[in-house]
């Protein structure tokens, strides 16, 4: 055997092979962990709810707004909505956006009876219709209604055509007219898409009330499951006179108003 052959054999000797295998083994392990671990971790974080926990058509979320309690000039619910959902500060080049292009998920409307002179104050936001015109007209299906009646916009498929804004009888939707400087993780927002009240879906899914409901000192807004006969809201709507805005359109809004 020549020296050359010997040295070649030496190279293939077991100890070297072992260390190489070991190295490859560890390397694959580390690589695998690096690649898979975040996936596993994120999967845990972003895991969708199980079928049993998912939005169910057995539930119909709704609101009852008592206009007798709602104070004229009070804007607490609107401010709470803006804070919670990230549309409070709307600036461009360090200046406040002009009002006509500001996003407004919720607004207070002051009414005065044309014949009676009676004054009423109430908040108006997405009415979360059973048959939402915005969902019907949306070309891509970005506007959609969850099984539990909450109407939302999928920000990833909204192309910004604004047809839903043309179709909404309540002027409940806003178009984001300028770059969004900050948004919370639970409420993604972006320029060029349409948005509106989500019933604070991120809170509702954690069994909490929407921000406007908890912010109202007068307890004028009641939130709950209209399908559950034993819920407070169901009991209430069965006892007091309430109506839907533009009920004539038969869109069957989930928001009802008392004292209107």
């Amino acid at each position: 055997m020549t020296d050359h052959e010997n040295s070649a054999k030496n190279l293939l000797k077991a100890p070297d092979n072992k260390s190489r295998r070991k190295f490859i083994g560890i390397a694959s392990g580390v690589t695998g962990m690096t690649l898979l671990a975040p996936g596993i971790f994120l999967n845990q974080v972003a895991q969708a709810k199980t079928d049993a926990e998912a939005a169910s058509s057995k539930v119909r979320w709704g609101m009852l707004i008592d206009t007798n309690k709602c104070k004229s000039g009070c804007n607490d619910c609107v401010s709470a909505c803006a804070d919670e959902n990230g549309w409070k500060n709307q600036t461009r080049n360090n200046e406040e956006l002009p009002n006509e292009v500001r996003v407004q998920w919720m607004r207070k409307v002051e009414l005065k009876g044309k014949k009676t002179g009676r004054e009423v104050s109430l908040p108006v936001m997405c009415q979360h219709c059973e048959k939402p015109p915005c969902v019907d007209v949306c070309p891509t299906g970005a506007s959609f209604k969850r099984d539990d009646g909450i109407v939302l916009v999928d920000k990833h498929t909204c192309i910004g055509c604004r047809y839903c804004m043309m179709a909404c009888p309540y002027k409940a939707r806003s178009f984001v007219h300028s770059p969004v400087e900050f948004h919370d993780d639970y409420m993604p927002r972006g320029m060029g898409t349409v948005e509106s009240c989500t019933f604070c879906v991120h809170l509702v899914d954690k069994n909490k009330s929407p921000a406007c409901v908890s912010s109202c000192n007068e307890k004028a807004i009641m939130f709950g499951d209209l399908n559950d006969k034993n819920s407070d809201i169901s009991k209430r709507v069965s006892q007091v006179a309430s109506r839907q805005i533009r009920g004539d359109l038969r869109t069957d809004p989930g928001v009802r108003y008392q004292g209107l």
Binding site: R92, L97, P98, N99, E100, V101, R102, V103, Q104, R107, K108, V109, E110, L111, K112, G113, K114, K115, V120, V124, P133, V135, D136, V137, C138, P139, T140, G141, A142, H156, T157, C158, I159, G160, C161, R162, Y163, M165, M166, A167, C168, P169, Y170, K171, S174, F175, V176, H177, S178, P179, M191, G192, T193, V194, I245, R246, L249, L260
Partner: protein, 409 residues
């Protein structure tokens, strides 16, 4: 009648190059405007959360409506068998494709997220008339392209009629779809009327033909090819019928609304109490309908070429303002959430919404028109869209017999 010879235009003259350069420059400016709008957001436009569709939509809808109408000349020839219209068919088809592409470009570039075109092309909500329109527009482009092919390729001439019929039916459905964008909006008082669809169809007849007439005239004048005045007169007479048709449907639309007490507010707004009323009466009705009808049919003016061309131009202006009044005026009138109350809010409830078109919107709209112009300009240079002559002796099957009769007299 001789066999017609179609030929490309030379397209080497200074005026051709100037027009082409002007149109391309206009497109570039339009694209820059679109980039400016997309980069900064719609805050730099006149549109807002009350007037969500603005001037770009007026341009786009006008051009889409006109596109389907521009195809009518071809349909009259190949579907209804009117021989004198057959030589006019290829240009008619080219113009319809050009107008549609121009209009769609505007619509696309005005989207909040034009980069998501692929989403619009892959996610369809079939309950949405908009989604249907995307399919109708694409289908229209395809059918008309095949239609042109059957007209230009001698071996496939026999298929021109069936394809022409398909294109004709498709275009009727397409304009129905465009009109229904508004007809299906139950929330807005100015819309929500089934008559929107037929009104848009007849409007497409009139503006499409008016544009066709002017393009035809310009093409023949600037390429020094003979064009029969009798033919222009014929088109003019037809255009008058269409203008009358639009007037009829507009009248019925408003009379029906006036009859219903619930619509009296919006009717007062459109017909009397706003700047849109001025646009309606002055631009749409007087300048865009009545005056052209006088030019077309009054014996004192009826055979004056210049007035015919002016009349066609006015029909285009009138149609544009008609769309403007529908699109912008319809949004400006406040939504009535509480009919029994006077209302006010930080979101302009109960107020007439204000809209001032911005320069970028205007440039985007004009850019779209230039896209249509370039397609036609290059189309007639590259392919055989135009007959060498549209003189009476070349296109009128009865020309010889008429002349003989005339000579005998």
């Amino acid at each position: 009648m001789k066999k017609l010879i179609y030929q490309e235009i030379e397209g080497k003259s200074t005026s051709y190059i100037k027009v082409a350069a002007g149109l391309i420059a206009t497109i570039l400016v339009g694209l820059l405007a679109a980039y400016y709008m997309e980069h900064n957001g719609h805050v730099v436009t006149g549109m807002n959360n009350q007037i969500v569709w603005g001037l770009p939509h007026v341009f786009a809808i006008f051009m889409i409506v006109a596109a389907s109408g521009a195809l009518n000349i071809a349909s009259i020839g190949s579907v209804f068998g009117k021989t004198p219209y057959k030589p006019l068919a290829p240009l008619s088809a080219l113009l319809s494709i050009a107008l549609l592409l121009g209009g769609l470009s505007i619509l696309l570039l005005d989207l909040g997220r034009p980069d998501r075109l692929i989403v619009a092309m892959t996610h369809f909500n079939f309950k949405s008339i908009f989604a249907w329109n995307i399919i109708l527009y694409n289908g229209f482009l395809a059918i008309v392209a095949v239609y042109i092919w059957t007209m230009m390729e001698g071996r496939f001439n026999k298929y021109t009629k069936p394809v022409g019929i398909a294109a004709f039916i498709w275009r009727l459905i397409l304009t129905t779809g465009t009109g229904s964008i508004f007809g299906f909006l139950v929330a807005r008082e100015a819309y929500d009327a089934a008559i929107m669809a037929p009104m848009f169809i007849v409007l497409s007849f009139s503006v499409g033909l008016a544009i066709y007439l002017l393009v035809l005239y310009a093409a023949y004048k600037y390429s020094d090819r003979p064009l029969s005045e009798k033919l222009i007169n014929r088109l003019k007479n037809l255009l008058g019928v269409f203008v009358g048709g639009v007037l009829l449907l507009v009248t019925i639309f408003h009379l029906t609304n006036l009859y219903a007490a619930e619509h009296s507010g919006v009717e007062h707004f459109t017909l009397n109490g706003s700047s849109y009323a001025f646009m309606f009466w002055v631009f749409q009705i007087f300048l865009g309908s009545i005056l052209p009808l006088v030019f077309f049919y009054h014996p004192a003016f009826a055979n004056q070429l210049k007035l015919t061309l002016l009349g066609a131009g006015l029909v285009i202006v009138g149609g544009f303002f008609q769309i403007y009044v529908i699109v912008i005026g319809g949004q400006a009138y406040p939504l009535e959430l509480f009919p029994e109350y006077d209302v006010s809010s930080s979101f302009y409830d109960g107020e007439v919404a204000l809209y001032f078109p911005s320069l970028p919107e205007m440039l985007l709209g004009i850019g779209g028109v230039a896209i249509a112009g370039v397609i036609v300009l290059f189309g007639v240079k590259l392919l055989k869209f135009l007959p060498v002559s549209l003189a009476d002796k070349d296109i009128d099957p009865h020309y010889n017999s008429q002349n003989k009769v005339a000579n005998k007299k």
